[in-house]
């Protein structure tokens, strides 16, 4: 057993070395005159139109295949190999882009900025997994997402996190989603892409910190299964919502659950709802009162969140390059003479006046004022609903996957002794 972990750690260390070694500086130009004319830089051509739709075709094919393996074959192995294919194709071949997770930002910016044109392919990558989730559960997470696939491969000794901790950490994806939408809507940044921990591994090139972050997630992922998917992924929030209402969903047992409990520890993501008989009727009646109180509290949480969001808008807006530049030049006007600061030099070369820059930055900050207000209210709403859900009790007798949380990986199916 010890050798197993040693091998995995060696493997991950070698991945770090690979990433670091391939990120060396380029050789500089010769210093003396040789008559050689330096070619002017060229911009790579975009991916061929037909190939973009080929990516969509592959995505649909993968989603259908996963659904087939879940509902027809009930084959964990089939799902696993499909996810390996997705990892190679969408991850290493397509370099992690195009990506349904990042497409959230394209959609947001399209809605917020009429001048921004979103490609149909990006829209399809955003919609298709959600549509599939509405019918078949999170098949995208099961085998189409390269980020999920690479984490799934390293799951070896998953530990069971306390339920309360999982629910607490479950707030983070909502916050990440809200921030990603805010930053995209204000035209600030696509933070999901910027802080994608695995894209550096897919591309074999990234800043050292991002490589370390990616490797860190994989190391944690040995013991805490798919940590990015469960506690960070903003797209997972949307998929969770859709999957909760899915028409069909993966089931542990092909027919009737015999409550043998064999599948109880099969899910590394703790996404199986286990029948609980410890809750008494008197608890339920108490819960009704609390439910009503906490329902009434939701508007208060939202108002508090909105206020906190409003207070934070100055801080949040500093991530915008224009706001940052304007504030930098106000606070440090001497930097105008810094020829090494390319942003400042580009601004000076543009001929734009400081007043115009500040005016534009103020407009962006105003967008942040409104956006942060909404973000705060949204987080307040999520907070209220999460608290409220603790008072919702539904009686269950069977072992069932939690429709929202289940990543449809199919592991539990192998544990069920019931034959169809």
């Amino acid at each position: 057993m010890r050798n197993k972990y040693l091998r995995i750690i060696l493997l991950l260390l070698s991945l770090i070395i690979t990433g670091e070694l391939t990120a060396q500086n380029r050789f500089p130009k010769p210093e003396f005159e040789s008559g050689y004319v330096q070619p002017s830089p060229t911009t790579p051509e975009p991916r061929a139109f037909a190939m973009e739709y080929f990516d969509v075709f592959i995505l649909i094919a993968v989603l259908l295949l996963i659904s087939y393996f879940i509902f027809r074959k009930r084959s964990r192995r089939g799902i696993l190999w499909t996810s390996v294919f997705s990892l190679i194709y969408f991850g290493f071949y397509r370099n992690g882009c195009i990506c349904s997770i990042g497409a959230i930002q394209n959609v947001t910016l399209t809605l917020a900025d009429p001048n921004y044109g979103m490609s149909v392919v990006a829209l399809l990558f955003f919609i298709l997994p959600l549509v599939f989730a509405l019918y078949t559960g999170r098949t995208f997470c099961a085998g189409a997402c390269p980020l999920g696939a690479i984490q799934d491969l390293v799951v070896h000794k998953p530990i069971k996190l306390p339920v309360a901790l999982q629910r607490g950490l479950g707030m983070i994806p909502y916050l990440y989603l809200g921030l990603a939408v805010l930053y995209a809507a204000t035209g600030t940044d696509f933070i999901i892409c910027r802080y994608d921990p695995f894209v550096g591994i897919f591309r074999m090139d990234a800043p050292f910190t991002m490589i370390v972050l990616g490797i860190g997630f994989l190391l944690v992922g040995i013991f805490v299964a798919r940590p990015y998917c469960r506690f960070f992924c903003p797209y997972g929030v949307l998929l969770n919502w859709m999957s909760s209402f899915s028409r069909w969903h993966l089931t542990i047992t092909p027919s009737e659950c015999v409550s043998c409990k064999l599948c109880e520890n099969s899910c590394p993501f703790d996404a199986i709802d286990i029948p609980d008989h410890s809750i008494q009727k008197k608890d339920v009646s108490k819960n009704v009162k609390r439910f009503l109180i906490f329902t009434l509290l939701i508007p208060i949480w939202m108002a508090l969140g909105a206020w906190v969001g409003h207070q934070s808008h100055v801080f949040l807006s500093k991530g915008n390059s224009q706001v940052y530049l304007a504030e930098l030049l106000i606070s440090h006007p001497e930097l105008k003479s810094d020829i090494d600061n390319l942003d400042i030099q580009a601004f000076l070369a543009s001929g734009k006046s400081m007043d115009v820059l500040v005016e534009e930055a103020s407009l962006i900050r105003n967008k942040f004022r409104i956006g942060s207000w909404i973000l705060g209210a949204f987080i307040g709403l999520v907070f209220g609903i999460k608290l409220l859900k603790q008072f919702v009790y539904r009686k269950k007798e069977d072992y069932e996957p939690n429709k929202g949380e289940c990543l449809s990986c199919g592991r539990c199916m192998d544990y069920c002794p019931v034959e169809s």
Binding site: K4, S14, T22, N265, S331, P333, S353
Partner: protein, 625 residues
């Protein structure tokens, strides 16, 4: 049986693939080590050949040799790059394959575990979940509020038309006067010396000052024939040299030469124990500026990240007479520029002419206050790009305030009108940034402003700003100001040298050089044919001023950042631990005393009427016998 065979096969396959992965990883490591050890850019052979090429620019055979060597280095580099990339891919594929094999292997080995009997605890989980969600919510609120309170809204503070346009206004307000010839200045109205009657009560009290007959006065003008811009200053009298010598009106005393003319200065005190401490008071904000004194007024500056202040104390009892905040100055930055802790924003020493006190801060703010603390004028010279912080002190003389304003991007030497801060002249300094301060010296009957920077020691005419002479002899980050005595200028800097310069008409010659004990921040002082110099590593040394020959050396407890002052036939210099070493001005080492302040200090002492004034990290001290 078949399953067992498969498991066996997969185990062996995993071992092989794992071994290959490790082998590739080791090769990559070796390659990385090799690349990091051999940087083609640092090829000594190539550097030597390129150096030779500068001597022999027409040597075609040499050019060919360089090209061939350069090509070889490039080939080696790109081959290494190819190896790294190929090895990286091989390692990646081997690793993926390794993971898959392991995955299948463990799936095959996996057995369905019997369920553990766990206590059902639905209600407990729900209660704990509420707590966790609540805790995360509180953390978010606290984090967001802390971030919001820590954020400055600079956009809100911005006043339209006050930034680049404000900068332009500042630049426009500093009129760049064309350097005028000395002939043209002859029309200026000369002012007789000794006209200033700044503080008659003090003049009467100055019985301890022996100005006229002090032998160390040589080199300082006996009479000042100032030709001050008549349009600005025709009706104003400024203190002459005799008057200034009665006080301690700037960094290192009158004319910033490191010589004070007071007598009966104490040689023994104990800051911690209170011996001979007449008073001690805490300065509200930190600063590295040394005290300056005029009559009963003692001035220092202090600053923190939020504000910059000038403090005026009654030097007789240490009472804070007034304080003035340098704020609401057009062009002043909303947030202070970054400085290092050992410099800060209040490093330059103030200057005073008995009517006004002048201060400059690391923000580029410069201001004049009257003796009661009322602001007379203020302006911002442009926020300095200075990686340590601006530290050049002000020099006030004959109606002008001399400002050495060096930054990483450019440098200027300005003479501002004391009355209104308008520039009388403003000349660019085309050399590297310096932290030294200007020194005034009378050479050939005219006053020259002498400054030191990498690579020049340079002199400007006090009247016109015209460059009179320069010597290329300095290097590095120059901190010490120059010394002057008997017609020779002495400049020093650590890792460079100490030189004695003989200024002539339009040029100057190096008389001697020395390069062992050199000062980093402490300025040398030249007096009575000797030079005294303190190093940052604790050696204080004395040299013959004419030959540069070392007379003696002394090792203190700590390094010297504060500058030595020659006073009352002695040298007073304080090291960074706060110990003041008092030496006799002599070719023999004669340590008279080494009293301790009781706290650290990097400033230079000030003197008045038999008293010494010292500033520690926290407190200001008046010491008297």
């Amino acid at each position: 049986m078949e399953k067992k065979n498969n498991i066996e096969l997969l185990s062996q396959l995993a071992l092989v693939v794992g071994g290959i992965s490790i082998f590739i990883a080791v090769l990559l490591l070796l390659n990385y080590w090799n690349i990091s050890r051999y940087d083609p850019l640092d090829s000594q052979a190539l550097v030597a050949l390129v150096e030779r090429l500068s001597d022999e620019p027409d040597n075609d055979a040499l050019k060919l040799e360089i090209r061939n060597l350069d090509l070889l280095a490039r080939k080696a580099y790109f081959t290494s790059q190819w190896q790294v990339k190929t090895g990286g891919f091989l390692l990646l594929f081997a690793s993926i394959f390794f993971v898959l094999v392991l995955k299948i292997l463990y799936d095959m080995k996996k057995k369905i575990e019997l369920p553990e009997v766990e206590e059902e605890k639905g209600m407990i989980d729900r209660i704990l979940s509420q707590r966790w969600i609540g805790a995360i919510g509180i953390l978010l609120v606290i984090g967001a509020l802390l971030a919001s309170f820590a954020s400055n809204d600079y956009l809100e503070k911005y006043v339209a038309g006050s930034s680049e346009d404000g900068q332009t206004k500042i630049d426009e307000s500093i009129e760049v006067i064309e350097i005028t010839s000395s002939e043209s200045l002859s029309d200026n109205q000369g002012l007789a010396t000794g006209l200033a009657e700044v503080d008659s009560s003090v003049a009467e009290q100055n019985t301890n000052v022996d100005v006229a007959n002090d032998p160390s006065l040589e080199g300082l003008a006996s009479e000042t024939k100032a030709s001050i811009d008549a349009s600005n200053t025709s009706n104003i009298n400024y203190p002459d040299l005799n008057e200034i010598k009665k006080h301690h009106n700037g960094f290192r005393g009158p004319l910033s030469q490191g010589i004070s003319f007071h007598k009966n200065i104490p040689i023994d005190w104990d800051g911690a124990g209170g011996k001979n401490i007449l008073w001690k008071t805490e300065v509200p904000r930190a600063g590295k500026s040394s005290p300056v004194i005029w009559a009963n007024h003692l001035f220092v500056s202090g600053a923190d990240a939020q504000s910059r202040w000038v403090y005026c104390y009654d030097r007789n009892d240490g009472k804070l007479l007034w304080e003035h905040e340098a704020k609401d100055i057009e062009g002043s930055p909303a947030s202070a520029p970054k400085t290092t802790p050992d410099t800060g924003l209040a490093a330059p020493t103030l200057a005073t002419d008995g009517e006004r006190v002048y201060a400059i801060f690391g923000t580029g703010d410069i201001l004049a206050l009257d003796m009661s603390g009322t602001r007379l004028w203020a302006k911002n010279l442009g926020v300095p790009d200075n990686h340590y912080g601006h530290s050049s002190s002000l020099l006030c003389w004959e109606g002008r305030l001399v400002v050495q304003y060096d930054t990483n991007r450019s440098g200027r030497l300005l003479a501002l009108d004391l009355q209104n801060g308008n520039p009388i002249w403003d000349v660019p300094r085309n050399h590297k940034i310096s932290w030294a301060s200007p020194v005034l010296a009378e050479i050939g009957g005219k006053y020259q402003i002498i400054t030191s920077a990498d690579p020049l020691v340079i002199a400007h005419d006090f009247e016109s700003g015209k460059e009179l002479w320069s010597v290329e002899c300095m290097m590095g980050e120059v901190g010490p100001s120059v010394a002057f005595s008997e017609g020779l200028v002495y400049a020093s800097n650590e890792y460079a040298r100490m030189v004695a310069i003989k200024p002539g008409a339009g040029s100057a010659d190096i008389v001697w050089e020395y390069d062992e004990y050199l000062s980093e921040a402490s300025s040398p002082v030249a007096v009575e044919g000797l030079i005294f110099l303190g190093t940052s590593y604790g050696v204080f040394a004395c040299f013959d001023a004419k030959t540069g020959e070392m007379q003696w050396e002394f090792e203190g407890n700590s390094g010297f950042y504060g500058s030595p002052i020659a006073v009352d036939g002695k040298i007073y210099v304080m090291d960074m631990s706060g110990t003041t070493y008092i030496f006799e001005i002599s070719r023999e080492l004669k340590l008279i005393g080494e009293p301790a302040l009781g706290e650290k200090s990097v400033v230079t002492p000030a003197f008045a009427e038999g008293k010494i004034y010292l500033r520690g990290t926290k407190y200001l001290y008046c010491i008297g016998a």
